[in-house]
Amino acid sequence: MKITLQVWRQADKSSAGNFESYTLDSVSEHMSFLEMLDVLNEELSVQGKEPVAFEHDCREGICGSCGFVINGRPHGPNPKTTVCQLHMRSFKDGDQLVLEPFRAAAFPVIKDLVVDRSALDRIIQHGGYVSVNTGNPQDANALLVSKDDSDKAMDAAACIGCGACVAACPNASGSLFTSAKISHLALLPQGQPERERRVVAMLEQHDAEGFGPCSQHGECEVACPKGIKLTNIARMNGDYLWAQLLGSPRVGGSADGG
């Protein structure tokens, strides 16, 4: 099949980018989207041109490395699918596809379709962990977790940190990511001792990174390849308000690197 691509090309962080058009005449419908780009890059290198930079690692939909926007949808048109798991059979012969990097002030473009998502790592550094003193592991059944909580925690923990939620959000908010990372700890007993400090520190780091506020549009939930629920954001909001209005006065700038 024939596919026409309009790809965002940008040499580096500081240069201005622009769209370039490429046409591929014999794309197999069995190719994954990234394999199609591999073919394009092969052609570009043969012609002595700079290949299109895009990020990828596992190509199995589990690492969260890949991701760009195809015709206005992060990771492309299919629900709960990373772009590495997207196949060309999802498109038709003659399709025109516009490929853009995730657009957010907090995600500066490094090159072409590759953006710097280390802002997400810094949010994690501000509390996306539990501080456990090492020692003998306790009995596995000593901590009881209800089925409902454990399911919700596991669902939140499925976040692969790809940043599609930010890309999809009209406000470029990172609330879905941040709330997933908060929720999977907030729902479990191990997350309770640091729950208030964690939500304040992580949410304020989210804001400091330049992500926008959540208007509850719901775009993120639909774009998320792992089906992370919008209710996580509601839980984060509740926890944040609780911590600020009723919680410990020391929340925020703590000594443990948080």
């Binding site: 957010a104 009209p170 908010s173 719901g218 209710t231 509601a234 909001n237 509740g238």
Partner: protein, 229 residues
């Protein structure tokens, strides 16, 4: 100590301010719409209701202060949030394909200013006495011997004018769109995260949004076409 400034500066805190102020204003629109229904009961019922609201001036004043505070908080916080969100995406996408958001969530920035304009004009039309006869009201009157306005007369003479009538209908449709998204968002912004609680809270609020918008639109239409005069 509760650090109000810090809460307001945070994205979740600012949204909570939007939710609480929005909830106050939402609640007011429900009461206001129910009060409006007196028009269908006739001149006397409407004017008695109007006089009843003016019966305890202190209560009226407190209500107005609370509402004005909520309105100012809602507008000012929204300006901050809009700036934050514009800063968060300096470069727009070439192709935008919305999928999860709703028409009313995406039009909050249009419905908001429509509602604000409506509130200002509506207050100048019917709440604060315009000086003499001016374009904001064809013939504003107080009730005979009273301090309360002749609400029935004022409302019907205003809304039977086609331009004002149509404006009131459109503005209340805008209000409906605005409340629709509000009904969806406010509970989440305040941290209601249980699927069942969220479902019922949202359903109730959506029902109220339909009632407010629908009730007001019906009333304006009834006066506009001359069913109530």
């Amino acid at each position: 100590m509760i650090d109000v400034g810090r809460i307001w500066r945070s994205s979740a805190g600012a949204k909570a301010v939007m939710a609480v102020s929005g909830m106050i204003l939402f609640g007011f629109t429900v009461v206001h719409m129910l009060g409006n229904l007196n028009v269908f009961l006739g001149r006397e019922a409407m004017n008695d209701y109007g006089a009843f609201l003016h019966e305890v001036p202190d209560l009226l004043l407190v209500t107005r202060v609370v509402l004005l505070t909520a309105l100012v908080a809602h507008v000012v916080t929204n300006i901050k949030l809009m700036q934050d969100s514009a800063k968060a995406r300096p470069q727009a996408y070439k192709v935008v394909t919305p999928k999860g958001s709703t028409l009313y969530s995406r039009t909050m920035r249009i419905s908001g200013p429509i509602v604000l304009t409506f509130i200002v004009l509506h207050l100048l039309n019917l709440t604060f006495h315009p000086v003499g006869k001016n374009w904001l009201h064809p013939d504003f009157r107080l009730q005979a011997g009273g301090h309360a306005p002749d609400a029935f007369h004022n409302l019907t003479t205003l809304l039977s004018q086609p331009l004002w009538g149509i404006f009131y209908v459109l503005a209340n449709l805008g209000l409906g769109l605005h409340l629709f998204h509000g009904a969806f968002a406010m509970f989440r912004s305040l941290g209601v995260s249980g699927d069942r609680q969220l479902g019922s809270a949202r359903m109730a609020a959506t029902g109220l949004a339909v009632a407010v918008s629908g009730g007001n639109v019906l009333l304006a239409l009834a006066i506009l076409v001359g069913l109530v005069k």
